[in-house]
């Protein structure tokens, strides 16, 4: 019982280290490679944004599966929690980018 507890604690510290390293990397990139340095429309800035989103999803995954122990639960509760959320959020992100891109283009074209 003690051995298993030690293993669990090691896993927790490993996830902590991972989250810290990812956060430090994100902040460093945020300070040195920001929108002003790279240019708002450039593809480098777009890749950095995608990189941030992917890293954030990785962090979120580790927090939900590791810290909230959803990874240790049965499959049916995992699916019940994750499936609606993943579906909704993917749709919301898609529609937000799609519509705001359109509005942005319209404003550029017709506003002064």
């Amino acid at each position: 019982m003690k051995k298993k507890a030690k293993k669990i604690r090691k896993k927790i510290w490993f996830i902590t280290l991972l989250l810290t390293v990812i956060t430090v990397a994100e902040v460093a990139v945020g300070i040195y490679f920001n929108r002003r340095v790279l240019g708002a429309g450039s593809s480098a800035w777009a890749s950095i944004k995608i990189g941030y989103i992917i890293l954030t999803l990785v962090k979120a995954g580790y927090i939900v599966m590791g810290f909230m122990h959803l990874g240790d639960e049965r499959k049916n509760i995992r699916i019940t929690i994750l499936a609606p959320y993943i579906l909704f959020i993917s749709y919301l992100i898609f529609i937000a980018i799609q519509e705001s891109d359109y509005i942005n283009a319209m404003l550029r074209m017709y506003a002064e």
Partner: protein, 281 residues
Amino acid sequence: MAADAAKVIDKDTLWGGKISPFSISYGKLMMWFFLVSDALTFGGLLVAYGYQRHKFTGEWPLAEDVFHSLPLVEGHFPLIYVALMTFILIVSSVTMVLAVEAGHRMDKRGIIKWLAATVAGGIFFVGSQAWEWSHFIHGSNGYVITAEGKKAHLVTEGDKTYHHQHELYEKAGLKFEDGTTIPAGHQAKEIIEHSLKHVQGANLRENEYGPQLYANFFFFITGFHGFHVFSGVVINLLILIQVIRGTYDKRGHYEMVEKAGLYWHFVDLVWVFVFTFFYLI
């Protein structure tokens, strides 16, 4: 009356059968369902932010320009304080997991140690957020709209903030939007004193950083999240008191700590998303 809360409902009434279909208790299941609904609320807010913000690609300020101070120290430290807040919140989440793990082993002293650390981390975060708000609202030197209707930022040597207007007007140079500058001196002072208005700090109508929506979204999203952190701290404190009193020891299991832990991790999770979308992108 309080004793009723601890009475165990028999399984036939609770699940209409023998066991929970998900193999977890009623309380834990309901906490998960609440977290999903709250996550969708925050998701809606962040999407609204993303949509509105994309209309303003040019004038939307860079987070490094707005959030570059540390409390009690002078200087330019872009994003450092926010990074520290994020780190402290993650660490408080880790201490919470360790508290839950101690609960599995019925280690009361371990729980008290780790839960107290979690409460301390939460209080630090809320205090820091309060400081960020006050600093954001107070602002620095701001900008003026000159008599000809042109916008110019007040720049000082070493980015120093002056709290008295006459001192500021003496020491400030002007930087216009097209890049032209006027160094500090008599000419700059004349222009500033005859300007139409001087915008400093932030309120819900205008702010010195960018469009009106910038301050509005900052207050609403960080405020809504900060409210969740505050309520989480209160809940953790109440559960800590119950642990010390031995209520859960008598009950035989520390599942209440686990449920509070779920809420606390949710708060951390939302902050990870807010941090990315508001401060980095």
